[in-house]
Every structure is written in C-alpha cells, then in structure tokens.
Symmetry: none
Subunit: 143 residues, 2 copies
Amino acid sequence: MQKIVYKTKQQDLILNYLGQMQGKHFTAEEVYRHFAESGVSVGIATVYRQLEKLVTDGKIQKYFIDDKSPACFEYLGEDCLNSHEHFHLKCESCGKLIHLECDELSGIENHLKEDHGFTVNPLRTVLYGICAECAAKEKGENA
Amino acid sequence: MQKIVYKTKQQDLILNYLGQMQGKHFTAEEVYRHFAESGVSVGIATVYRQLEKLVTDGKIQKYFIDDKSPACFEYLGEDCLNSHEHFHLKCESCGKLIHLECDELSGIENHLKEDHGFTVNPLRTVLYGICAECAAKEKGENA
DNA sequence: TTGCGTGCAAAGGTTTTGCATGGCA
DNA sequence: TGCCATGCAAAACCTTTGCACGCAA
C-alpha cells in the first residue's frame, strides 16, 4: 500500500522561504518566527516536521553546532541537488558550507562499505573543521 | 584569592572507572548507571560536573553527535593525547554509534588537509549511514 | 572551622508526540 | 469521501542550577 503525499500550503510557504535563504543558515525557531511575524500561521511542530522531511530528501542540510544551541539548517541550491554525489564540509569558524566532489572521498565511501560494512549517506553527513581561508587567517593572527 | 580544590570519593570513583573505559566511548548517563548498579551513590549532577571538569582539564574528550543523542565522552590516557584520532559512524536505522579507528580514514584527513586545505575536526564529525547489521536486516526483509 | 563538592529536585530549552481538526485529492 | 498534514498543548529529553548538607583540609 502506497502512502499518498499531499501538497499543502505550509509546505509551499516553507520551501519558498527556504529558497530565499540560500547560503544562509537558520534554525527551526527562526523559520517559525518568520511566518508568525508575517501573520501567516505555521505551527512550530509543522516547521520541525517539514524540516525533517527536507533533510531526509537531501534538500537541506542539518548542522549541529553544540549541545546548547538549537539545530541549524541550510538550504542546498539546485546545482547542488542535481550534481553528482558529494560530501559537505562545514567550516566551524566562518560557517561556510563547502560542497566537495572528490574521487578520494568516494573512495572512502567504498572503503567503509567493503571493509566495514557501513553504507555512508552523503546527504546527511557533514564533515566539520576549519577551511583554508580561516586557517590562513588564524595563522596570520598568531604570527 | 585562590580557590581550594578538594579531593572527594566521587572524584576518585569516576576517574577510576573512566580509566577502565579507555578506548571506549560513554555517556554521562552510562557512568551514572554504572555506579547506581554497583550500589554506589554518585548523583547524576556530580557526574556531569566531574565530566565537565575533566573535559576542561583535557583528560577526556567530548564528542558532539547530534541533537537527540546525549553527549558522548572518551577517556584519554595520560600519554596519548593526540595519538588517538578516530571518527564516528552513526547508524541512521538503529542509532548505534560506531567508533572507528582506521588508517584509511586518517588518510582522508590528510587528503582534505593537503589537497583541499580543510582541517577536519573529528570531535564533531559524524558519518551517517546504515550499519552492517541493519543493512543485512533490511535485505532479509525485502527478499 | 571553613568552604567546596555533593545530591536532590526543579528548572531550563529544544524537539517530539497525541489527538482532534482542517484541507487536499 | 478518505486520509494526510496541521496545530495546539503536553510530554519527553538531556543538561544545568539552587540550595542545604556532609565532608575534606
């Protein structure tokens, strides 16, 4: 039995809004507040449920900053969605999202599967660290 | 004014227990339960407070898994502060956290640094996917 | 004796869930 | 009409905090 999926006004509103948020990150709370301030009614539970679905679909990335902060999301543009398999790197310093296509990373995917039986899900996986620019900046500051 | 530091029974108990946990990861809850089951009384608040102190002191590491999972810690031996890098894999199906020490993954770390200028932070990075057991289970169900 | 660490319980904030209702197909 | 998605409020969850007490120095 196939589950029927309905299109709703809230879905459109949210997806539409997230489209404008390209390159920016946002929390569930912020999305909720945006609609509340616009006078449009979208419940916080709906926001969470929609965001979760979009993460599963790979349309947005979910970030984990630290224990206390609320979860943080970012919309992935069309080019990203259509492109080949890749991983995301997130700079902990400047917050930049790097979108990395690289054979060597694909190699890791195979390695984990072959040697560890683990099937990586690149849609959901984010590698955290420090990007080249920020590393250079820090180096300069310490010099 | 210097703050005096007391040595307490609970401190010893916890540090002692963590010493046995070398190479394994654990949550605050697990430490708490360990003592509860042993009939020794160590409050959960004390566990959290001690773990926090140990993180500050650099004796244990704290891992950020995701929003829903409790924070995860690992004891670092006195000697091997840096020699212990590894990554975490998390199964999206059963929620199991896999603790992976693997040269090939360390290779990825170097590759990202050398070729992409990106310094990965293993404390915060979690690779999501499906573990071997769950993959086998799903396969069985679909057959 | 002094004052730090502990333990309990309550608070804190984010996210999830139960259930009745509304809206899409 | 049938059933999914929504919204509200309550629950769940991990973690922190206030406060009185016990214990180390």
